[in-house]
């Protein structure tokens, strides 16, 4: 999902840089308010952790494998705004040091995965964790029920978060032929229209990477709840 250099035209990548800079400023302010002074080591280690999560391949039935971004997982574990910072730093390091994702596309990649994916995933997680269903066995203060709701919320949130990020990526790539064409009508950047980018990117995320993201998020939360419950916020 990392957009490389050359696929987005200046209008698109410039707008996304312009959109992501205020988000970083706001996230830094929120982090300053929410966390105590020792935020520097926590954020640094969280950024390193989110970088390393992307290295893990997860097996799926049938022999397929995929890797997760861990966006919703990190948001649940350290909070949404610290997660925005941690993921953005991981994406910047990936682009600059390892050429994974373009330098001009840092704004786009951080907006899609480090902001939209994180906040959507975390928002859905919070919504489902707090949801009250009339006469449902999923209500009440029983810790097991609360746990189940949190896990369902985390899974759906992770699935929705990565799919939203993928959708934004597909739209950004798909609008290139509309925004930038040469005198002879040929596309100058990503040549594929929305009718191709959306199904091409969304199908693999709806049926593979979304599932991997949900599986990783729920299983890691389950493990942490059992082995290190003190690390779960709220």
């Amino acid at each position: 999902m990392h957009i490389p250099d050359g696929y987005l035209g200046p209008i698109t990548y410039g707008s996304l840089w312009a959109a992501v800079i205020p988000i970083w400023i706001y996230a830094s302010k929120k982090v300053k308010e929410l966390l105590k002074a020792s935020q520097v080591p926590l954020l640094a280690l969280s950024a390193a952790f989110s970088f390393v999560i992307m290295m893990f391949n997860v097996p799926l039935p049938g022999g397929t494998t995929g890797h997760a971004t861990g966006a919703t997982l990190i948001a649940i574990l350290i909070g949404p705004w610290p997660a925005v910072i941690a993921l953005s730093i991981a994406l910047i390091v990936q682009a600059l040091i390892f050429g994974d994702g373009g330098i001009t596309a840092i704004g786009a990649n951080c907006f899609n995965m480090g902001f939209a994916g994180v906040l959507a995933g975390y928002g859905i997680y919070r919504l489902i964790s707090k949801l009250k269903i009339k006469n449902s066995k999923f209500n009440g203060k029983n810790p097991d029920v609360k746990n189940t709701r949190q896990l369902i919320g985390a899974g759906i949130g992770a699935y929705a978060g990565i799919n939203l990020a993928a959708f934004l990526t597909a739209v950004e790539l798909g609008i290139q032929p509309l925004l930038h064409t040469g005198a002879d009508g040929r596309p100058l950047y990503s040549p594929f229209p929305l009718s191709i980018t959306i199904p091409a990117i969304m199908l693999e995320h709806l049926f593979l990477f979304g599932i991997v993201e949900a599986v990783v998020t729920v299983s890691v939360l389950l493990y942490i709840k059992k082995s290190h419950p003190e690390l779960i916020r709220g």
Binding site: V40, V93, V215
Partner: protein
């Protein structure tokens, strides 16, 4: 002395196998490949950045700004010839920096991937235009759901140009980024990158970079440990865990537990780091001063590079705006 029977037997089942047909596709191997290539790339960068060459001698902050501007100007180029200028320029820089072969090796995966993405754009299915090469003729157009396949499939002039533009643009951009990393020692690179960042981001970036290696080494250790424990796992023993030795569930559980462990490790490390920093009098006031670029830091080569870069950027910008 006779060889014991157990030593001559071939292992009946390997715990981490996902598929017998494609052993190279095992998820652990893929993860390990990621880890190894990450460490290898960094070690390679360390080696190539210490070689004598043009870009190795340029101050990292000046180099980062100039390469970033080159990539931005490259993104404004609308003609194939404009993009080729940057590609030739990147090749020249690679030659003068002594890294042409390494650069080509690094570029190969990106080259294959970009070709696969760009080639379909040459067809009239993606970019309509003047026919260049006829590939196939159907009797009539076909419609699948809402997608219509025209009766004639051919390569269009506009499509071929579009695919070529995308391919060359991506190759030129990626070459410039790789040149930056191949010719700058990783630690100096991170220091230079963080010098452009505001406040606490400086410390966060440099600390996280160091701990990426630490955590990556841990992942390598997890994989080696898992392999060592499951090298000859009998099928009967592992099937008890549900789903048999080839079950993806075992792999998912293992991966989840390692990511969870890595997170708890990160939190513990951050607490230790916090105490260590406080003990050394570190101030968490978000005002970490970075070293400013002083005149004494700029060498004669840097000045020549700046003049050269401004000239190239100016000419190409003027050409793209014409």
């Amino acid at each position: 002395m006779a060889i014991p029977e157990w030593l001559t037997k071939q292992a009946s089942g390997v715990g981490y196998q996902v598929s017998d047909k494609k052993p190279e596709e095992r998820f652990l191997d893929k993860t390990l490949r990621h880890v190894v290539s990450f460490v290898e790339d960094t070690m390679f960068n360390e080696r190539t950045s210490s070689m004598k060459g043009l870009l190795q001698g340029i101050e990292p902050r000046i180099k980062i700004i100039s390469i970033f501007l080159f990539i931005v100007i490259l993104s404004f180029q609308k003609t194939v010839s404009g993009i080729v200028v940057f590609l030739v320029f990147a090749a020249l820089l690679a030659l003068l920096s002594g890294v042409p072969v390494i650069l080509l090796k690094r570029l190969t995966p990106a080259m294959v991937f970009t070709l696969l993405i760009a080639l379909p754009a040459a067809l009239n299915l993606i970019v309509d235009g003047e026919p260049m090469v006829m590939l196939h003729k159907f009797e009539k157009p076909h419609t699948f759901y809402q997608i219509t396949i025209p009766s004639h499939i051919f390569i269009t002039r506009q499509g071929a140009l579009s695919a070529l533009t995308l391919f060359l643009r991506v190759m030129a951009s990626v070459s410039l980024v790789f040149l930056l990393t191949l010719t700058t020692p990783p630690n100096r690179f991170i220091k230079a990158v963080s010098s452009f960042m505001p406040g606490a981001f400086k410390s966060i970036v440099s600390i996280s970079y160091r701990y990426i290696f630490f955590l990556t080494r841990k992942v390598e250790g997890f994989i080696m440990g898992f392999r060592a424990r499951n090298i000859s796992l009998p099928a009967s023993a592992s099937s008890a865990s549900g789903g048999g030795p080839h079950s993806s569930l075992i792999g998912q559980r293992w991966t989840a537990s390692r990511i969870g462990l890595l997170f708890s490790m990160s939190i513990r490390l951050s607490a230790e780091l916090e105490r260590a920093m406080e003990a050394r009098g570190y101030d968490y006031n978000f005002e970490v001063k970075s070293e400013r670029l002083k005149v004494s830091d700029i060498s004669r080569d840097d000045v020549l590079w700046i003049i050269f870069s401004i000239t190239i950027i100016g000419v190409m910008l003027w050409k793209s705006l014409m």
